[in-house]
Amino acid sequence: MSMAADERELRDDGLSSLQLSTRLESIWRTPSGFFGALMSVDHKVVGRRYIVTAFAFLVLGGILAVLMRIQLAGPEQTFLSPDKYNQIFTMHGSTMMFLFAVPVMEAFAVYLVPLMVGTRNIAFPRLNAFSYWMYLFGGCFLWISFLVNTGPDVGWFAYVPLSSLQYTPTKRPDVWAQMITFTEVAALAVSVEIVVTVFKLRAPGMTLDRIPLFVWGMLVTSFLVMFAMPSIMVASTSLILDRLVNTRFYDPSSGGHPLLWQHLFWFFGHPEVYIIFIPGTGMVSMILGTFARRPVIGYPVVILSLIATGFLSFGLWVHHMFVTGLPQLGAGLFTASSMLIAVPSGLQIFCWLATLWDGRPVYRTPLLFVLGFIVIFVIGGLSGVMVASVPIDTQVHDTYFVVAHFHYVLIGGAVFPLIGAVYYWFPKITGRMLSERLGRWNFWFAFVGFNVTFFPMHLLGLIGMPRRVYTYTADMDWAHLNLLSSGGAAIFAISFALLLVNVIISLRSGALAGDNPWDASTLEWATSSPPPPQNFDRIPVVKHRDPLWFDNDSLPVVAGLSVERREVLLTSLAEAEPQTREASPEPSLWPLITAIATTIFFIGSIFTPWAVLWGTPPMAVALIGWFWPSGSKEDEE
């Protein structure tokens, strides 16, 4: 492609604002009708679908949690059979980790990152659509299997040999392993899109030190996904191979080893925690800056902490394996490396506290959730320091103490910021505000319900209750704390019902938001709510880390982009200097067709190895259709 301006091409500098808006909208809009909706490659449309789907899985996973709490509310209950219970706790963990926590963070990134960096669409928008379909089909595959009594029942980390064909001769572990493949494909695709969007599509002038902290967080997260996911891909694929075609990767009688699974799984599984947590910290930084009414203190410290967390997260997977009989000195070193992650996490907390200290906090619902996050997450972090210690871990490993710990980290560290983020960005996404009154009720129910549910579990673990038991005998002294925990779960569940009610009511009758209801500083607030299909009529030029605070009244803009076709502006990696204009793909049905072909291939291959043979040609055809040159201007050049 050439930078030379084509004289006959119409550019945005030749149009009035209204003409420009109308033209861009007709170029960028998603085609109407049912098939139009299926063809959409708009990051906002895909992002919205992603968010709604992820929350649907949150509701499903939450219902399972409530069922487990009913079962455990008293000793020797028969509300759930052991078989159902084992399926339910496996489904709960798998749904929450793979179908809710990771995808919902990606979903917000898909929606927000292009807006925050000031571009018109995400990089590789068709891949983005494909990613969503893969995620949707993978999630439905798991849940439909569960509803027909083929839900996985070997735990969300599916340890071999329990998950091997010999000890679980059903299709259940295959369903689990292949669901992993679906979500891996989806997550890897989104990560590539995010990295390229952040590196190449930033608005001119958005140098590396002007990137919003949420975008930084998602950049680090995307790299974590790209380095961590291949490990689980190797693990789950070899498990399927062991089960389907009798390879012996994990069979000790043929030179395989069960611990291989654990290493591969946790080499992914520990970074996974940070894949969930780092986007949460990004949300916290954004919300905190806005509501403390000042930029977050220590911007470079926060970024370096995120990057340090990313690196360190690959060096502590062994703390999940302290009781597998590893050499003691090695285990001790992993104690130190695990605790070390408290340093970057602590630095971020200190930066946020300093920001609040100096700021003039406005206590709206998003900030309440951030404050709740700090109180809860610090407990989770500190109990994390405890489980990192080998001697302590030998007692608390695989007990309710650990259950308490990781819910404090994951719900405290990711779900609280996430709900805050829902309150914060809902006006941008829908154009309407959520009710503040209901929001406060929502927060207090969540805060109290969460702590009542999970704090007693610390004690339960210490007085001997292992995790993943479907019941316990009456003489074990665990009944009272379990009942308390179940009561807390009811309160916690109400908080999510309140959120749902709030969303439904506000969608119909919430106050209109306007472009920037919170007087926030970043670019997503520089466009209308909800944003038009083209995001921005004119691409902004960024001169400051907080452009809307700094250039309050007149954001400078770029001129010269085409208004005849979808076009985005590429900029340089570090300095974000404009480099070239690049065509952005049109809507297409091919990503959906490819996803359907891939789904048939994936699901078929857990039943017969021949699916690898007959499953690939349809995928190849779909991909050829996807990439068939469409005779666009760019192709001709």
Binding site: N86, G155, L347, V469, T473
Partner: protein, 336 residues
Amino acid sequence: MPVRMRTALVPFVMLPLAACAGRQSALDPHGLQSDRILHTLFIFLIIAAIVWIAVVIVLGIAMLRRKRASDRPLALHLPFEQASGRVVLGLGLATLVIVLGLSIVSYAGQRTVFAKDGNALTLKIIGHQWWWEVQYEGDSPHQSFTTANEIRIPTGQPVKVELESADVIHSFWVPSLTGKMDLITGQTNELQFTAKNAGVYRGQCAEFCGLQHAHMAFAVLALSPDEFGRWRDHENENANSPTDELGKQGEQLFRARGCALCHNIRGTLAGGQLGPDLTHVGSRTTVAAGTLPMTPATLGAWIADPQHIKPGNYMPKMPLQSDELIAILHYLEQLK
């Protein structure tokens, strides 16, 4: 919180249910190792509590303190920015010092907990879905014997358990005595611990191992060295022969009704190897791997319908007439 119980133990006496309750707690240590771990835990807990309270106090002050008036978000106060940067880095450094200190505390604890003693009594424990096989290795072959779901050890003497699995991964955990260690297919792990006090301590499988993971418990009976020696000598002997007619009938039915296909009773023709060894089953404290206390009623209920008590376990429900069940039960009860 479990109540500390110092029940004077008499071997070969069926213990009431209460005796094995509550003794499964990391907060109620009766072993050298669990003591040391609790010690380490308290150090961590105190520091964690201090850190958390400090964070919450700072957060509270940050929220409550009066702020200087300022209209624009970006009216930054440069000296404050620099000062707060220094404070943040200082706190980061303090965090580093704390975690390094705790790492050292942890490693010191780890060294003690995992210290090896050459004079340890050696047991081999093999995990099965969902019960525990326990092998005592004596100085000579005729001093070795196998039992199940119950471990008796002498107080004050280090015990080394060699942990293996017959099927999937299990985890051996007696929180009152020491931390857990996994039983992993294809490898042998070792764990050493010393009971300080006599008592009954409950243990439970801590690694999810399938359908009946919840009902895979066991009892550890720590006895005085003398009592332990007597028990061991007795346990080493073959099973008691039935003394009465009903018992003899029970012994025959044990073979005739298929029990002997899976269960071994030393000194008799029953030589199955799939299920728990029942040579001295009458002297054990629990039924079905810690699921029920051992009484004639519970043992009878278990034999009558194991699938009702522990659904999905590998002991089938055998078609027994009630008089046959009574005879078998009577026989097993005599196997003290």
